[in-house]
Amino acid sequence: MGVRIEKVDLPGIGVRHDLLTGTGRRVSVVSHRDGDHDLAFVDEDDPDSSSDSVELTDDEAAALADLLGSSISMTRLTSLAGDVAGLYTEQLLLPTDSPYLNRPLGDTKARTRTRVSIVALVRGTTVMPSPTPAEILRPGDVIVAVGIREGLDALSRIIANGPD
């Protein structure tokens, strides 16, 4: 997957990175030396100028990057199983009153009980691929699981209410 990014130096100010999208738009990120960032969208009438530019602080830029980064990881994960018939990927949010809260992932015995594979855990903005059974489940975790419909439904019940 080739994405074109161009880097242009802005002497005395910082660096500009341009990203050309598949639809022909140019998105520019100006990184100032003092840590500020501008996110700019190029004017379609006049490709040399920007139609709008948003100033972002360091923290805001980091948050936006994480947001984009984690949503991309999620789409990549979901596209994994797409082509095998009958196999689904699902993201299950761990309920806040789950009996498995703060317990190892292995305690759910998901594989034995439902024949579903847990392929990743998403915690906040980080994605943990292939978690070990020893991984402790935390509030707000999202479990990414691959399996058949019935198995996924069963897993969803188990993490909410415990084994029947």
Binding site: V8, D9, L10, P11, G12, I13, R16, S28, V30, R33, D34, D38, A40, V42, D45, D46, P47, D48, S49, S50, S53
Partner: protein, 397 residues
């Protein structure tokens, strides 16, 4: 009243007044430089209320102001940036020099001020104010525009050219014989080239003298080194401003970033003092008689600057609206023009250069920001669009 008490009162009242004017400038959307110059004119020679007690303070302060202006300019650039820009935009830089320096030189010769004043006035009209232009680009939200690197490259080359121009001018104004002058110029250029080389190769080691973590030793250290080198440079006729500029370039990386943060408030204070001092030293009554030549020169060289930016942007493959944006944003002249005029006047070359430069900078700095906004107006965009439509229909038909 005691002498120092009077100084406190005069300087305090002046700074307070300048702060109010600075806010007014921000409100209008122009640089405060013209207001500072006007304050100086008002209180200086031939002005309404002469300042006596604080004259010494303003003289020393203005010297430090020039040094800090240049040092911070140097801190903004790394030596690598200077070199790569020089390689990429040589032609634009050359064009810029020819287009904008010549009118100044010619006017000085027409006025019968002699060749040295011609060299000085050429410098005054040549250099755009990187401070004013960079701030304008930021305010107008043009940093992500494609023509902006071209505009910045021109500014960088001008600033670098000043590192060679100022020592040459400094040697010329001393008024030595031709052979002696050539030797002085050669020494000056050699010293500048040597320092640039050291900055490029060993900048890291120079930066290592300082520590970025502690602001106070950093402030004293960088300020000390800058003033020391500036003084030594002035001693060998290389102009203190250039010495300071080169120190700024040599310091790099994290230290440069921190140093510019701690030095910026000082720069703001002393640069303001510098502009006021220049106004103080300028004869206000002479300004009136110089207003017409200044206005003519301003109109002519703003037009040549627009042409410079337009052509440079065209070489860079920028569309027509972008070319106009590049050209119109380059017109303001500022600190360098005043530094150059100050250098010439203090050496006793043509006193009328000061009022001319003051008037000239006043006009370009005030008009520049309004010119720069023209390409953003609906009127301009429609004109460009209808012009383009006419061209395409003609080429089709």
């Amino acid at each position: 009243m005691h002498e120092t008490t009077v100084i406190l009162i005069e300087v305090g009242a002046l700074l307070l007044g300048m702060s109010l004017l600075g806010r007014l400038a921000l409100r209008i959307g122009i640089s405060p430089i013209p207001f500072y110059l006007l304050v100086g004119l008002l209180f200086g020679n031939g002005g309404f209320i002469p300042l006596d007690a604080s004259a010494d303070f303003f003289e020393v302060g203005s010297e430090i102001g020039v040094i800090l202006l240049l040092a911070l300019l140097g801190l903004e650039y790394t030596a690598q940036e200077l070199l790569s820009n020089l390689k990429q935009s040589r032609v634009a830089g050359l064009l810029d020099a020819v287009f904008n320096a010549l009118p100044g030189a010619v006017l000085a010769l027409v006025l019968g001020w002699g060749p040295v004043a011609a060299v000085a006035l050429a410098g005054v009209t040549w250099v755009s104010s990187s401070g004013v232009v960079a701030k304008m680009l930021r305010d107008l939200g043009r940093l992500s525009n494609r023509e902006t690197p071209i505009v910045l490259a021109i500014l960088v080359i001008e600033d670098l050219a000043m590192a060679f121009y100022l020592p040459i001018l400094a040697a010329l104004v001393v008024g030595v014989s031709l052979v002696q002058g050539a030797v002085t110029v050669a020494i000056a250029v050699g010293v500048v080239a040597a320092i640039l080389f050291v900055a490029l190769r060993y900048g890291r080691f120079i930066s290592r003298i300082f520590t970025a973590e502690h602001p106070e030793p950093l402030l004293l250290g960088v300020l000390g080194l800058t003033m020391l080198v500036a003084g030594v440079a002035a001693e060998v006729n290389v102009s203190s401003a250039v010495g300071a500029f080169l120190v700024g370039i040599a310091v790099s990386g994290k230290v440069a970033h921190q140093a510019s943060q701690v030095l910026t408030p000082l720069r703001d204070l002393f640069a303001a003092v510098f502009f006021v001092f220049f106004g103080l030293a300028t004869d206000a009554s002479e300004l009136v008689s110089m207003l017409v030549p200044a206005a003519l020169l301003a109109i002519l060289t703003m037009a040549t600057k627009v042409a410079t930016g337009y052509l440079a942007a065209r070489r860079g493959g920028i569309g027509i609206p972008g070319r106009w944006r590049a050209g119109l944003s380059l017109t303001p002249r500022g600190e360098f023009s005043i530094v150059i005029a100050g250098l010439a006047v203090s050496a006793g070359i043509e006193p009328r250069l000061a009022p001319l430069a003051t008037g000239y900078v006043l006009i370009t700095v005030v008009v520049g920001p309004f010119l720069a906004r023209i390409p953003d107006t609906r009127w301009f965009k429609q004109r460009v669009r209808s012009r383009q439509a006419a061209v395409t229909s003609r080429s089709r038909g």
